[in-house]
Symmetry: C2
Subunit: 429 residues, 2 copies
């Protein structure tokens, strides 16, 4: 049995998971990779910081050069996150002919192309299963198992924090703020939760997935983004009454060679396979022209699930004897596909207006929708007799977004309309 | 772009799917494999039979020698099914240094070891993703993506026919016979449905999955098997009342180095991820010690989904340039694990007795359970006042199967007990 020396950059949650997995599943890994993995170096900022795991003298280092200049280290595992110095370190590892495994979604979504190209040229492997959806093998799935398919759609619940918050709002009738506080108390949301609740995290992940699924470069800036901060208990209840649940979805679709890419809260039918994905679980739903509908479900984050993905990537590098025998590019970029602007996308819409409760309100509103080419599928008017302002919630039939925008503009000018309180897109299948 | 010539053995449903996938996704496959795939030969029994697809003169052949002796054919795709002549053909292909892709569950479950060994020795690849759960990439998932895990449990809905029948029984209140007839009318069940409804098909598939997941040889004969023919509408209704649904599950578990392997109808809680897998869909639920819970869901059979799996396997052979660079055996057999006998397995149980409706019945029955060390979790007694015979349905707490058997033996002797009408195992998480 050969020994292989690896180095890890960073020693946070995921790194700790990687060290634990390598330790507790030593025999498993040995059998399946053919190698005994030795963690030779771990790059940290402070050697003396109190940590859960203890390491032998000399393993922790603050000097990256000890890793990059050491020819006996064959694989570098980048887990510091963010753009710099992660990017510089990965390029240095590649240039020193080391294989790279990373779980860095921000880096891959923004600079994946540059980094994969560099790896390609240097003849080393670069795997990044851990960058999206933790332990769920979605990247491997697209790159190795669904290769015979033309993928037309990829829809994911790929942010555990927001899924936890929406689950709490749904099942425990919490408002957003209370659910967020609970998520923070449980460690599912960060002190500054912006990246999760505003959808930035999901945009990074969708960029990575869409690029692979559709075989084209995808720019983070081309992904429409809307977080869940405006979703209220009232919307969750209307969704329930209408037969839906609310989820933050990352949606990628290809039609006629053009892409739709968007992250936003969405009404999904109660019977949809994604509707029952709750708490911090993630799931990715794919449509391929051969495989049909496929869904992968599991833990999208955390020390051990992401550790599972990273260590499985290390094993993949080792299993093929660290040879780079691919006949085709690891980049998987084969086409140049354009993203269509949001106003040209087609969807159904949930809209909630606050209106003064006078006769004829509904008639005038639906007339204005009709004039803008939008037809209504379902309407609920709530509120008690005597309330000065009541909510009207509607679901439209499928329509282009610009028609919805025009309708809202016209309806907002009606004297008895107080305002648009909520707009959530709807998917039906 | 290189060209590669392949041959297909058989031209039934899956072969037709393979030909269609290779045709409609030609560009996709070219980009992802680096090869232009040419179907050079297809082995059939009758060249002149009327078929959906048309082929150029010379492609269809009844002579296997035309394939095995042709050195320009690099990959043989076996899709005739069954043991012989499939096995002989595969071994001949291997001996002629051809890579093999198959979707033959009966063959892999019974002779996988022999065939994989032969491939190993000849230095060719043998892939069989299509043999279990159609388009769901479960074999690739276990072999390539979950390699860093010790898998403790694999639970699958891996037979579409029985899942369709149970779904009809559940949502349309059909009895088994009627649901089976509908499945046959729709082409989801064969004229002789034995292999599906008696669980043989699921046993083959579980054998393949368990062998990979637990890294040990598994004998088809060691898998406990029970079909769904005894499940009645009454059981489905009791399940509903008690908060469960009924599914035919294939269960593989490892505990302390010993295996539990069984296929039988099972009560599963309504909130379990497998509970919402309906119609002909399949799903496989896995527990790994790093990844946690993972579920893969999709179409378990059919021309295109299975075609997707087979063609993705062909691409996998090609992507690595047909080199056999693995550092470890393709067989993935590393340990020798024993299967524990069914009577020593632990489960919860649903039991339905028919009893004469006289006072004290329930007391005497539960007393006998207690004497045999079985405690009761939940009881429902149905039937109208005046019915001479009524059903009593119970769910036990977790217990060993031999204790249940002893309890039933004792209870059956009670004078007012007409008989045990139903026994279904229960899983709780």
């Amino acid at each position: 049995m050969s020994k292989v020396r690896i180095a890890i950059l960073g020693l946070g949650t995921v790194s700790t998971g990687v060290c634990k997995v390598i330790d507790i599943n030593k025999e498993q890994i040995l059998k399946r990779s053919g190698y005994d993995i030795e963690i030779a170096k771990i790059l940290v900022r402070d050697i003396h910081k109190e940590r859960e795991l203890k390491f032998n003298e000399g393993i922790l280092t603050t000097d990256p050069e000890e890793i990059f200049s050491d020819d006996s280290i064959k694989i570098v595992v980048e887990l510091i996150g963010g753009i710099e110095p992660a990017k510089e370190y990965i390029l240095r590892a590649i240039n020193n002919k080391k294989h790279v495994v990373t779980a860095n979604k921000a880096l891959i979504s923004n600079y994946g192309d540059e980094i994969l190209n560099a790896a390609e040229k240097a003849g080393v492997k670069l795997y990044y299963e851990g960058s999206v959806a933790g332990g769920i093998p979605i990247i491997h799935g697209i790159n190795e198992s669904l290769t015979a398919n033309k993928i037309s759609e990829i829809i994911g619940i790929i942010n555990g924090t927001t899924n936890y918050i929406l689950t709490k709002m749904t099942f425990q009738n919490m408002e957003f703020k209370q659910a967020l506080e609970e998520a923070q108390a449980k460690g599912y949301a960060e002190a500054d939760p912006t990246s999760d609740i505003e959808g930035f995290d999901a945009v990074y992940k969708l960029t990575v997935l869409a690029s692979l699924a559709f075989g084209t470069e995808v720019d983070v800036k081309d992904v429409y983004r809307e977080g869940i901060t405006k979703i209220s208990k009232a919307d969750i209840e209307f969704a329930r009454d209408l037969g839906y649940v609310v989820k933050l979805l990352a949606i990628g679709r290809e039609k006629d060679g053009k892409l739709e890419l968007r992250v936003h809260p969405t009404f999904i039918p109660k019977m949809h396979p994604l509707a029952n994905v709750n708490d911090v679980y993630n799931a990715i739903y794919i449509k391929g022209n051969a495989v049909g509908d496929l869904m992968l479900y599991g833990k999208g984050a955390g020390e051990m699930p992401t550790g599972s993905a990273v260590v499985s990537d290390i094993i993949s590098v080792l299993r093929h004897n660290m040879d780079n025998t691919y006949t085709v590019s690891q980049r998987n970029i084969f086409w140049d596909k354009k993203v269509i602007p949001m106003e040209k996308t087609v969807s159904e819409y949930y809209l909630r207006f606050a209106v003064k409760d006078i006769p004829g309100v509904l008639g005038e509103i639906t007339t204005l929708f009709g004039k803008n080419g939008v037809s209504i599928y379902s309407v609920i008017q709530k509120g008690k007799k005597g309330d000065p302002v009541v909510p009207i919630a509607l679901i439209t039939h499928s329509t282009e977004e610009h028609k919805i925008n025009k309708s809202i503009e016209a309806i907002s000018k009606l004297p008895f309309v107080v305002g648009l309180e909520s707009l959530v897109r709807v998917i039906t299948e």
